[in-house]
Amino acid sequence: MKQISVDDIRKDFPVLNQTINGRKLIYLDNAATTQKPNTVIKSIENYYKSFNGNPHRGAHYLSLKSTEIYETGRKKVANFINASSTREVIFTRNATESLNLLAYSYGMNFIEEGDEIVISIMEHHSNLIPWQQVAKSKKAVLKYLYTNEEGIITEEEIKKKITDKTKLVSIAHVSNALGTINPIKFIIDYAHSRDAKVILDAAQSLPHMKVNVKNLDVDFLVFSGHKMLAPLGIGVLYGKENLLEKIPPFLYGGDMIEYVYEDSTTFAELPHKLEAGTQNVAGVLGLTKAIDYLNEIGMDNIEEMESELTSYALEKLDSLSEIELYGFKGISNRGSVISFNVKDVHPHDTASILDAYGVAIRAGHHCAQPLMRYLGINATCRASFYFYNTKEEIDLFIESLKNVRKWLGYES
């Protein structure tokens, strides 16, 4: 591991150096969205100051520059995830749109009555409701992979739920609610052995670890830029070329067509077929710079840094008797997300009290209501780390946490 100084890294992130209400901001809500380094912020500013134009449609300088920036971004993403070709990389608004695109274009056209769609009980609503809708509309069956007492999806469960009737498996690589890393390699291989396609929701994994679509042999993969240092408003759908070729367009409009007649239309080739209307070039540029930043540090290093932070936090939390932890407790097989509650205290009170101490965590159902119900809880507190967090921040987080029960009138 090369010498990486978190102090140096933190200088690149203006938000992290803020004081809010006289307290240093401690940002532990990275599973919701990450902060942006100066290179990303600056690139957006530069784009609008020097290059702004509508791409793909013009022969003039700004339009050409914008096209170049946009397509360079596509190459960057393709390399980052090890796609075979830029034709496999579709830009969307966020992971949610990518998943809905798949539900509308793939689900509504390739799932038939009686087919089975398998997802897991820990899916984010974005990877759950679209499949509910497809199942309802196509009279297909939606099946859930449940976790065992240890909080993991076992191979038995996978073999039981994925059958010859399964057409599609859509699963989170890492759970945003619990941090669990799912056994996706096994799921993908097993699903393929049953002729089912697999969608990987990499929204919580790609920002934190190497994800290689070719090694995984995954059919589709989605993620959001804003969870990996990039601006809001840019997401990605990866798909194997032969599958993307097969699916019809999702949104219809400019730039995705070949010929438009009054009563019919022929569509452009990949990737343009699946990108309609004026695209978010500044978003793609920001994503490009974000990937540069991540590559500069190195995904292996990022994984190691976060794993150290997460173990440290887990250990500290585990030692507090008033803290209840949810999900898999080990450090192996988990991302940098920790779900917990303070005894007798509703998570919203905990979050508000921590906020007063400058500590930003999240409280609620984390867009995973079925999981909460399955675990028999209403809501949890969630602390989620990124490589720019520090052990000192975790110490302050823990110290603040110790005050929570007092504020609510408990003795200790």
Binding site: N21, V345, H346, P347, H348, D349, S352, I353, D355, A356, G364, H365, Q369, M372, N378, A379, W407, L408, G409
Partner: protein, 140 residues
């Protein structure tokens, strides 16, 4: 934000006291109030006789603020006429929305005035008003 002004003694005491947390035998009205974004849910029951709220109670899950607010409200409205209870609801919501700011106008809220500062905490406003909105719906 000043935590002292939110998690006051009144709030923490009410949130921990369970004296209004129960069910009522054959209530006149029973209504669910919910706050999907938090997962908070209360079931409010009231017994009315001759236009007077004879009894009220609640069950459900919620944060300290929503529980305290609910319990304070129940203490306040018991024995009141429906018309007066509705007036209290409007005053309370007016206070939270900062439409009623004059302390004299708020005095009728008694302990519920302790929730005044919740408007400094926009994320929690919904918790504070949940019971009151539910009561209003139940009475109208």
């Amino acid at each position: 934000m000043n935590l002292d002004s939110i998690y006051t003694e009144i709030i923490t005491e009410y949130s921990q006291s369970k004296h209004n947390e129960r069910t009522i035998d054959s209530p006149t009205k029973s209504l669910k109030g919910h706050n999907p974004s938090c997962g908070d849910e209360i079931n409010l029951e009231i017994k009315i006789k001759d236009n007077i709220i004879e009894d009220a109670a609640f069950t459900g899950v919620g944060c300290a603020i929503s529980r305290a607010s609910t319990s304070i409200m129940i203490d306040l409205i018991k024995g009141k006429r429906i018309k007066d209870a509705l007036n209290l609801v409007d005053t309370f919501i007016g206070m939270i929305k900062r439409e009623i700011t004059n302390d004299e106008d708020l005095e009728i809220l008694e302990d519920a005035m302790a929730l005044k500062n919740i408007s400094n905490l926009p994320a929690r406003v919904k918790c504070a008003v949940l019971a009151w909105h539910t009561l209003k719906q139940a009475l109208e």
